[in-house]
Structure formats: structure tokens, C-alpha cells
């Protein structure tokens, strides 16, 4: 049997840096193939070459045994390859249907038949059991729905080979379940799927075979029946993973207090509704919830990026309600933001500049408004060593870092602030399991030093393994609090879905 897709000896150089080093990979019809590897291993680069977004330095691509070369995504699409980018490629002001049919619109003469487009999209969604609302603007859709739109778009274009780059990183557990089901269904209908992910449990659940990359090279090509999560992890990081360290118990005074905080835009429904919470020294408080239930607003309110209409915010008893970001940071807050490209970095800035944010006015790194580069570079280099951040140099553009490496840089930057309180929003999103271990360890270490962490994550396992207490948010309110010892996935899920808290 011929392969549907074969990539042979693919190599990609960025300058003198080898992002992909003669990688080969093959894929059959109806097969789900996972590509895993640590951050910066070259997964995305490989896929960009397959989709015609980057030209390989050397190597060959065969589709159904035929040698092809892609100068642009057009050529890839013409060869029935579709890609769902991790950072979605959507037109926010267009409806779902418009986003899906664009490029192959149903026409009446020269006119765009929008009614027909909506019908086709509805039918397509029904056929693959991928529900979307055809006439809603994508800007108004949840992340999960946006992703379904992306998948339908690829299907609408007639793709037989579908690339999914970290599709589950931004989804809620429920949405992940749906996605995995969809992937399986598509494969059963004869589609070939390449799945890039860091979540090995997902890989084991859905993939038939996998390729493991490290430092641009293939370190393993295995099929599901011959492997396990542990083996994959070892192939990926090249070492065994450790257990998390022990928790030191301590009785701490409150560091962060929110008292009846309400955030509301004009007269709309409040985004945060009378939220009261406390984070004490030596604890990690986890916030669970389906995304869009006020977590973002909560973090923005605490960090000073959003004004509060009612209530009070205190750090160490000092009132910081509606203070500037700078003074709140000074009062003792550091912040790993949820969207690293929007809040956490500037793509055009260098790695050094990205790291410098928040340090530029610290006396250690500034004298008479001049920046002291030498000590700062030393600091950044220490982060790079500690977190194994892969970057060409400090002058590399932040936008050229792989997503995971940028995340590690941001985490290092915020931990480096050594503030009594850290807000960590999705701290390990898109980060490989090795790095995830580092980050989790670092958060625990912070806690054990007697500092406090407010953790927001859509990853229930992350919340459960790290948090001392778990608060669940629903529609802008805190609807429940569960202690570490009582936490179970079921209990949290019920609260997240708006159910009542049972006695435990």
C-alpha cells in the first residue's frame, strides 16, 4: 500500500541554525499521526513546510507517491492538504459560514450566495458532527467554536490530509473531548490527520502512530501499540520525569484580598460579580472554570489592566484598588499573562527587550535613567540556562522563538521579579512536558518559600496537582471552593458547568 503522504529527509535552515534536520515521516489514509517533541524541536517548522508556508532547504514531499513541491499554501491546498493553525486564521468580522467558504464561495453569477453558504456549512457540520452557528460572527464565538470553524474550513476545502498544530492547548476539557472524538471520526471517514501536541495522554488516546522530535531530529517513530506515555516522555525529553516536590505546610497571613469586586462595562451584565477571595502566604490558589466565565477579567482587574467599579483590592493590606499597573507591580505582584503574544511579548522586540519588561526601572538595572545592560544580560542568561530556553541569541526577535520557548522566557521573567504574589495564567500552555515540570516545580518552590500564587488554568490536572485550594468561577461569580484534599475532577466539573456545590 502506498502512503498518502511521505516526507523524506526534510531539512530547514534559518541562517546557520538547523530547525529541522533530515526529518522523514509517512502517513496512511485513515491514520492519525502525532508529532510530539519539546519546545523548539521543530514541529511547527516541519508543518509549515508541508503547508507551503516555508520552503525546505532540502528534502522531498510525496503525495500518493507523487513528488510535489509547494511554493505557497495554494499548492498545498490544491493537493488536498489543510492546516488548522494554532493561532487561528480567522476574519473576525465575517460570519462562521463566510469564514468557512472563503476561497470557494457558492456563487450566483458573480454574486456571493450567502444563504447557500450558510446551508452548505450547516450541512457540512451535520455530516461531520462538528456543530457551528453559520450566521454568527467569529469574533463572537468561543475559542472551541472558532476551532471547529477552522476544521470545517479545511474540510470544506476538500482536504484529505489535515494538520492540527496544538489544537487542544486552548480548549476546555469538555471541548478537548469533543475534539478528540472529531479527530477519530474524521480518520474513520478516511482522512489522514497529523496532530501536534504536548499532551501525551491525548496522543495515546487518539493517535495510531507517532514521530518524536528533539532538537530538529527524529528521536523515535513508533506506533501506539508499541509504546506508552512514559516511553514517549523519555524520547521527548531524553530523561526521566520526576515527581513534584513535597509541600511545606505553613500558616500565612493574607497577601492578596479581593472584597466584593465588581467589574462591569456600561450597563451590561457584570463581568465580575461581587468576587471575594483571599490568597495567603505559602499557598497556591487555583481558579478553575470554563474559559469566558470571568477569569480573564479577574486577572486584569487584579493586575490593574481593567478598572473596578465596586469593591476593594488589597495586597499586604495596602489598598491597590484602581491603581496603575506599575504601582500594583511595585506593591508586590508579578504576572504570567494568559495570551503570550497579546500581553506577554512584542513580536518585533528582541529576546532581551522582551525580558527587560518590568525591570527597566529597577535600581539594579538602571542608573540615571540609563539601562545597565551588563548585569541584566547576566540575569537573562541565567534564565536561559535554567529553563533551557532555545534562542539564537539575546538579539533574536521574540516572534521567532517557538511558542513554548517564548512562554518559558515569560515565566522566567515573572518568577525573576521575586514578588510575594504571582498570578499565573495558563503558565504551561503549549509548553512541553519537560518544561512543564520545571515550571510546576518553580511554582511550588515559590509557594514553599512562603510566597503566594494565584493560578488560573483550563487544565484541570494542572490545577489539581498544584493548588492548595481551588475556586471555581461561573458567570463572573465564584461558585465554589474546594480544598486540595477534597478535589476531584467530577466535583470541579459540576461546579464549572454551573451546578451546585455538593457537601463533601
Amino acid at each position: 500500500m502506498t502512503y498518502r503522504l511521505e516526507m523524506k529527509e526534510m531539512t530547514k535552515m534559518y541562517g546557520s541554525f538547523k530547525a529541522n534536520d533530515s526529518i522523514s515521516l509517512s502517513l496512511k489514509a485513515g491514520e492519525v499521526h502525532a508529532v510530539v517533541g519539546e519546545n523548539g524541536a521543530g514541529k511547527t517548522t516541519l508543518m509549515r513546510m508541508l503547508y507551503g508556508m516555508e520552503q525546505p532547504t532540502s528534502g522531498e514531499i510525496y503525495i500518493d507517491g507523487k513528488l510535489v513541491s509547494f511554493a505557497s499554501p495554494n499548492d498545498a491546498i490544491a493537493n488536498k492538504i489543510g492546516m488548522v493553525h494554532q493561532h487561528f486564521m480567522l476574519f473576525p468580522d465575517f460570519t462562521s459560514a463566510e469564514n468557512i467558504v472563503i476561497g470557494h464561495e457558492p456563487k450566483s453569477g458573480m454574486f456571493f450566495n450567502r444563504t447557500k453558504a450558510a446551508e452548505q456549512v450547516q450541512a457540512l457540520g451535520d455530516h461531520y458532527q462538528i456543530p457551528v452557528r453559520p450566521n454568527v460572527k467569529t469574533a463572537e464565538c468561543s475559542v472551541g467554536e472558532q476551532q471547529r470553524i477552522e476544521i470545517l474550513k479545511v474540510l470544506y476545502q476538500g482536504a484529505d490530509i489535515i494538520i492540527l498544530d496544538e489544537p487542544s492547548a486552548v480548549l476546555t476539557p469538555l471541548e478537548v473531548k469533543g475534539l478528540l472524538k472529531t479527530i477519530r471520526q474524521l480518520a474513520d471517514q478516511g482522512k489522514s490527520i497529523i496532530l501536534i501536541t504536548h499532551k501525551l495522554r491525548e496522543v495515546m488516546e487518539v493517535a495510531d502512530s507517532m514521530t518524536v522530535l528533539r532538537n530538529g531530529k527524529v528521536t523515535g517513530a513508533v506506533s501506539k501499540k508499541d509504546t506508552s506515555v512514559d516511553e514517549l516522555a523519555k524520547l521527548m525529553v531524553g530523561r526521566e520525569l520526576h515527581e513534584l516536590s513535597n509541600r511545606v505546610q505553613m500558616k500565612g497571613e493574607p497577601i492578596l484580598e479581593l472584597r466584593n469586586v465588581t467589574v462591569q462595562e456600561k450597563t451590561n451584565k457584570p463581568l465580575l460579580d461581587d468576587v471575594t477571595l483571599t490568597v495567603k502566604r505559602g499557598e497556591i490558589v487555583g481558579i478553575a472554570g470554563v474559559s469566558g466565565n470571568g477569569q480573564s477579567e479577574l486577572l486584569q482587574a487584579i493586575s490593574g489592566l481593567r478598572s473596578i467599579q465596586e469593591g476593594q483590592l488589597l495586597i499586604y493590606g495596602q489598598d491597590i484598588t484602581n491603581q496603575s499597573v506599575a504601582s500594583i507591580r511595585k506593591a508586590g505582584l508579578s504576572h504570567i499573562p494568559e495570551d503570550r503574544y497579546l500581553w506577554g511579548a512584542a513580536k518585533q522586540a528582541s529576546v532581551e527587550e522582551t525580558a527587560l519588561m518590568g525591570y527597566q526601572r529597577k535600581p539594579d538595572y538602571r542608573s540615571y535613567s540609563f539601562l545597565l545592560k551588563a548585569p541584566f544580560r547576566k540575569l537573562v542568561n541565567s534564565w536561559i540556562d535554567k529553563f533551557e530556553i532555545k534562542t539564537g541569541s539575546l538579539d533574536e526577535q521574540a516572534g521567532n522563538l517557538s511558542g513554548g520557548n517564548l512562554q518559558k522566557l515569560i515565566v522566567a521573567r515573572e518568577l525573576g521579579q521575586e514578588t510575594p504574589l504571582l498570578i499565573a495564567a495558563e503558565p504551561t500552555r503549549g509548553v512541553d512536558i519537560g518544561a512543564m515540570e520545571y515550571i510546576h516545580e518553580a511554582l511550588l518552590e515559590k509557594r514553599n518559600k512562603g510566597e503566594a500564587v494565584l493560578l488560573v488554568s483550563s487544565e484541570l490536572s494542572e490545577i489539581m496537582s498544584l493548588s492548595d485550594r481551588i475556586l471555581v468561577m461561573y458567570e463572573g461569580k465564584i461558585v465554589g471552593e474546594i480544598n486540595r484534599s477534597d478535589a476531584s475532577e467530577e466535583a470541579i466539573s459540576v461546579l464549572m458547568a454551573g451546578g451546585q456545590q455538593n457537601e463533601h
Binding site: P73, N74, I77, M89, M110
Partner: protein, 305 residues
């Protein structure tokens, strides 16, 4: 002196036509992510070519066509420089303005052997169209009838552009480019070709704007006769948020205020202050429109980073 009279409206309609046409053209460029400050130059090329066309063919309609073609040619220069050679759109626009001024002056000398202005009393301008039924309605007839065809064309162009952008497939794709160019490329749209199309249409519209100026409003060409209308068009385009109907509104607002400011000259205010009126009112209009459409981020994205 009367501030408001019938001529106010009909004068506004005439004066606003070149601005409206050019602003629609500018909007097309904006919709494919290019800020075209070269409108002034493109209109000037159109104005000159219309006169040349008329001189050569003796037919006003061929002359208008010639103007459209010549502006189209120069808009293709804009397109080639910005799309293929990735030149900064503003630099190219400014350079095109310079180039148009130089070329038309130069050609005026070489073709007509005159400096400054070309005027031929026997040259026929665009006819005034009397609209059959409306013509006879007392007030309305005076306002709406008896303009040059391009006046009607300009408003028709706004409607057609609306239909094009919001009803046709090609227009839909054009819109997508301005919204998210990276995404448009990623799904394999021929972004370059669509940009060429939009810029080409912009050229045609600017050519018509020029023809209205040199054959519709007057029948002559003089150096730099656009006198800043291209920049006003740019303002009208931005104020109208690159939406055809919005642009009709903003152009009319500006034209109306300009007409009022002329009429205010008779009163005791210094002329410089009456001349400020349209600009002040436009800022005020922006203030009222502030919560709509493209926020300030849009400006950021267009900056020369």
C-alpha cells in the same frame, strides 16, 4: 448675503464629486491594507489626461476613458512598488504625488507648448445632463438636474462599490485582505492579484475624479489644479471608515461645509477662519463618531513600523 440658497446644494454636489470619487478609490486601497496618499497625484494625472484625450480625440467621452486609463497606469505603478517591491505605501504615495506634478507640468509644455495652464475656448467640456422627470420638479429639479454625467456617476460608483464589496465574491475576498492579510494568504487567496484589482479600480476612480475636475467643473487644465483635493479625499475616506456609504456622507459633509464657508466670507470674520470651518467640523464629526468602527488601533497598525 444669503447663507442658504439653492445654489448651495447644487454647488456642493459639483464640488464634492472629485473628492467622493477619489475617496472611494482610496477606500478600495485601504480595504486591501494599503494607505494611498497618492490620490492627489492620481487625480492630477486624470485631470491632465482628460484634457489631452479631449484635445486628441475631440470626444469628451473618449477623453474620460483616456483619463481613467492613464490614472490606472499610474496606480499600477503604485501597486507594483508596494506589492512586488514591498516599498512603503506612504513613501510611494508621496513620490507619486511629486511625480504626477512634475510629469503633468512637463507634458503640458511638451504637448501643448504652454506653461501654467492650458485653455482652449473651443474645447467642449462634459455636457450637463437634464434628468427627464426630476428636471421639471420645481426645487428638486434645480438641485439634482443639469449636472455633468460624472456627478451622477460618482454617486452611482458609491452604490456599485457597496454592491461590489458586500454582495460579490470578489468584493468579499477584497474585504478579507484588509481584515486579516495573513489569514487571506493562508487559505490561498490570490492576495496580490486582488490588491492589484483594488488599486486598479482606485486608479480608474481617480481618473474619473480628474476628468470631472478638468472637463466637468471647468474645461481646462492648470498645474496642480487638484489643489489638495486628494488629501481631502483621504480625510473623507478615513472619516467614512472606508465604507462607501460612509464616504458619501463624509464627502457631502465636507463639501457642504466648504460651500458654507465660502458664503461666510461675506461676513466680518477673517477669511482664514471661515476657511477653517470644514476642517473644524470634520474633527467634530470624528468626535461624534468616535465609538464606531476602526478604533485607534487601526492607526497603529498602519504606522511605519
Amino acid at each position: 448675503m444669503e447663507l442658504f440658497d439653492l445654489t448651495l446644494i447644487s454647488s456642493t454636489l459639483r464640488m464634492v464629486t472629485p473628492i467622493l470619487l477619489a475617496a472611494l478609490g482610496g477606500a478600495l486601497c485601504a480595504r486591501v491594507g494599503l494607505f494611498n496618499v497618492g490620490l492627489e497625484g492620481l487625480v492630477l494625472i486624470g485631470a491632465f489626461s482628460a484634457i489631452v484625450g479631449n484635445h486628441l480625440t475631440g470626444s469628451v467621452f473618449l477623453a474620460v476613458g483616456f483619463a481613467a486609463i492613464m490614472s490606472l497606469v499610474f496606480s499600477m505603478l503604485f501597486a507594483y512598488m508596494t506589492i512586488h517591491l514591498k516599498a512603503n505605501d506612504i513613501v510611494v504615495g508621496v513620490a507619486i504625488n511629486f511625480l504626477a506634478l512634475g510629469l503633468t507640468t512637463f507634458a503640458l509644455r511638451t504637448i501643448f507648448d504652454v506653461k501654467g495652464a492650458y485653455y482652449d475656448k473651443d474645447m467642449k467640456g462634459l455636457p450637463k445632463w437634464d434628468i427627464p422627470v426630476i428636471e421639471n420638479i420645481p426645487v428638486l429639479g434645480e438641485l439634482l438636474s443639469g449636472h455633468s454625467p460624472l456627478v451622477y456617476v460618482s454617486f452611482l460608483a458609491a452604490i456599485l462599490l457597496y454592491v461590489f464589496l458586500y454582495r460579490t465574491v470578489t468584493g468579499f475576498r477584497v474585504l478579507s485582505i484588509g481584515m486579516n492579510q495573513v489569514a487571506a494568504k493562508s487559505i490561498g487567496l490570490k492576495v496580490g492579484a486582488l490588491q492589484y484589482l483594488a488599486i486598479g479600480l482606485c486608479g480608474v476612480l481617480c481618473g474619473l475624479a480628474g476628468a470631472q475636475l478638468s472637463l466637468g467643473q471647468v474645461t481646462l487644465f492648470s498645474e496642480g489644479m487638484t489643489a489638495g483635493r486628494g488629501f481631502i479625499a483621504l480625510v473623507a475616506m478615513m472619516l467614512g471608515q472606508s465604507h462607501p456609504i460612509g464616504i458619501v456622507g463624509s464627502s457631502l459633509l465636507f463639501g457642504f461645509m466648504d460651500a458654507i464657508s465660502i458664503r461666510l466670507q461675506g461676513f466680518s470674520l477673517p477669511t482664514q477662519f471661515t476657511q477653517m470651518l470644514p476642517y473644524v467640523i470634520t474633527i467634530f464629526a470624528m468626535f461624534l463618531l468616535r465609538d464606531r468602527g476602526m478604533g485607534s488601533q487601526h492607526g497603529n497598525q498602519q504606522s511605519g513600523r
